[in-house]
């Protein structure tokens, strides 16, 4: 965005540095003078929350790594050592463990906010795709992190997920052996997962920098989806406006985080992971962490193994194509009455997929007399079809047939209650992208 590099170094030391490496100016233009639309609601605070959560995870993770032993005979023991003998080890571990869940809560809200307000539309496609890359990296990191305590779910989750690669034709088995570093999930697997679990967060950090950079080039979207037209009227400087608002939201988020850490630390985990991994004993139900459940449901709903793996991957990758699948010229769901209904149906479908993912596939959902009409896997198939239908059918068609509401002429007008009465195509000209 233009017009936000206003930093003037005052002290001679700052002038000296600024002439050689304008890093203070960069920080100043990114986090102080950066113009933010003045009508952002609290759903726009999750970016900052995610940034802080990443730092929380990295710091708590580095401390945990100082006390953890990545060896199949000692990993479980070393986690208990952290819980019992390390000073405040229980706190650091519970922070890290629940922090992962909080990270995903925040990222899913962040994504749904983007979906609702059309934050993926031009000119923010690259920003959005970078976000999808971050999500994929987060998933890989979380999956490998869950293996490290070497409990029953760690081992068997790793067995199930790594085995998925065997579905790849011709080279599948070879790839799985290569991933395992042997012929089963064993010590070499645990070692490389530890190594990669330590590496990936820094890669996430790198992509986050690109994500923020892209954001600062195109500027933030806002609840109206109307672009900033007048910097003075439509925006406020990031500091103090966005900083204080983000700080408030962050502390509220931390209240929830602390509630789980201190009063319900194992709620989001599985009891089975307090049993040390045993390759000879398969748990009755192998279930991934809650944040993977919708994707797990999609995987299980396809009867063919390769098909399931492809669909599960596609469920995430399809997000990257969203900027071109959504044909509507209106960004914000606030001015798309029909889209809004489909959006909430989609949210409900995602939640329901999560529930299906946690259930026994053979369980009956609907019965007619003694006849099972719908099993859990059947429900999963319907929901999977809808999930993809939302992106591949509903969004492309909706943009063509939907009659949008009228947009405000500007952000300033929407804030000052100037009414939402401007007809489409008048001052707002929604057909003019960007």
């Amino acid at each position: 965005m233009q017009g936000h590099s206003t930093y003037v170094p005052k002290s001679s030391a700052a002038k000296w540095l600024e002439a050689r490496l304008p890093i203070i100016g960069l920080m100043h233009s990114s986090f102080v003078s950066y113009p933010t639309p003045k009508n952002l609601n609290y759903f726009w605070t999750f970016g900052g929350i995610l940034m802080v959560m990443l730092v929380v995870q990295i710091i708590s993770g580095i401390v945990l790594a100082m006390h953890y032993t990545p060896h199949v005979d000692m990993a479980f023991q070393s986690v208990e050592h952290i819980m019992r003998d390390v000073n405040h080890g229980w706190l650091i571990r519970y922070l890290h463990m629940n922090g992962a869940s909080m990270f995903f809560i925040a990222v899913y809200l962040h994504i749904f906010r983007g979906l609702y307000y059309g934050s993926y539309k031009a000119p923010r496609e690259v920003l959005w795709i970078l976000g999808v890359v971050i999500l994929l990296l987060m998933m890989a990191t979380a999956f490998m992190g869950y293996v490290l305590p070497w409990g029953q779910m760690s081992l068997w989750g790793a067995v199930v997920i790594t085995n998925l690669f065997s579905a790849i034709p011709l080279v599948g088995e070879t790839i799985v052996t290569w991933l395992w570093g042997g012929f089963a999930v064993d010590n070499p697997t645990l070692n490389r997962f530890f190594s990669l679990h330590y590496l990936l967060p820094f890669m996430i950090f790198g992509v986050v920098i690109l994500h923020v950079w892209a954001l600062h080039v195109v500027g933030q979207n806002n609840p109206t989806g109307v672009e900033v037209k007048n910097l003075k009227k439509d925006t406020v400087p990031f500091t103090p406006y966005a900083t204080v608002k983000d700080a408030f939201a962050m502390v509220c988020f931390f209240v929830m985080f602390a509630y789980f850490v201190f009063f319900h630390p194992n709620y989001l985990g599985h009891a089975d992971n307090y049993i040390m991994a045993d390759a000879l004993k398969t748990p009755a139900h192998i279930v991934p962490e809650w944040y993977f459940l919708p994707f797990y449901a999609i995987l299980r709903s396809i009867p063919d193994k390769l098909g399931g793996v492809v669909m599960m991957g596609a469920a995430i990758v399809i997000l990257a194509f969203l900027p071109w699948l959504d044909t509507s010229r209106i960004r914000s769901g606030s001015y798309r009455p029909t889209f809004r209904i489909f959006f909430w149906v989609f949210v409900f479908v995602c939640v329901l997929l999560g529930w299906v993912g946690s259930q026994d596939t053979a369980r009956a959902v609907m019965k007619f007399g003694d006849q099972t009409v719908l099993t859990m896997v059947g429900l999963g198939q319907i929901l999977t079809a809808y999930y993809f239908g939302h992106f591949l059918v509903i969004l492309p068609l909706l943009g063509l047939f939907e009659k949008p509401g009228s947009l405000p002429a500007s952000i300033a007008e929407s804030v000052l209650g100037g009414g939402y009465g401007t007809p489409v195509g008048a001052a707002a000209s929604p057909e003019h992208k960007g």
Binding site: V251, L268, I275, A284
Partner: protein, 293 residues
Amino acid sequence: MTMKTLFKAAAALTLILGLGTTAAHAAGDAVQPPRQSWSFAGPLGRYDNNQLQRGFQVYQNVCAACHSLSKLSFRNLSEKGGPEFKPEQIRELAAKWPIQVKDGPNDKGEMFERAPRAADRFPSPHANVEAAKAANGGAAPPDFSVLAKARTYTRGFPLFLVDIFSQYQEQGPDYIYALLADGYLKDGEKPPIAVEEGLNYNKYMPGQKISMVEPLSDGQVEYTDGSPATKAQYAKDVTAFMMWAAEPKLEERKQMGFRVMIFLIVFAGLLYYTKKKVWADVKSPKTVQGHAH
């Protein structure tokens, strides 16, 4: 999005949150254990030192013959927030423990056995898992260290959502207590399912068959504090002890939690009013004009 949609989103989120934990525990045929009242439940929950001491007594006299406690050290028994035995009691207890610990090599290069010290972890009753299996009809008795956190039962919808707010997290202790105190057949009762030789019927066990013969009976352990010497009381006490063994920092955690929550809520309040003040001139245009530079 309005406040209403915010609530909708929050409700959806709570749903997602809870769904993950509905992972069914085991075969659906096992009976749900009834809820017990535990001193360590809830936000103000604390362990009852006397109960933990009695529970340890039951462990020592009944369970320790087969079940290890490998992640705990003798010294843990005298730490704050636990049974809080006196350190000298612990030194004596360790010295008289029936199982020796392996140490060495000594200056001749030989491994040797010696009596445990307070700093040692509890030596296991069996040399290894295979030995434990061989001595117990093919099923190794599980280690007690984290067992109370490793057991649960399915709560189902919508209870798992209620649990977020009620802070019910004693599924493990409830299950263990039910299994010990009430799961086995009473005198003269016949098992409702066929039970093979070497197994026992227990209605709370997933699959309803368990290797362990009923371990507790009335009058088995002599309590010195006047608590009833009954099977139910033993089961309650040893379960509480197991919960402490699995979560020894529970009191410290909940106490710190209170301080953290109070700090965060006050801080959030201050930030809220700061935010309101900072944004006042954006929200109402009149003030903008009033404060125009």
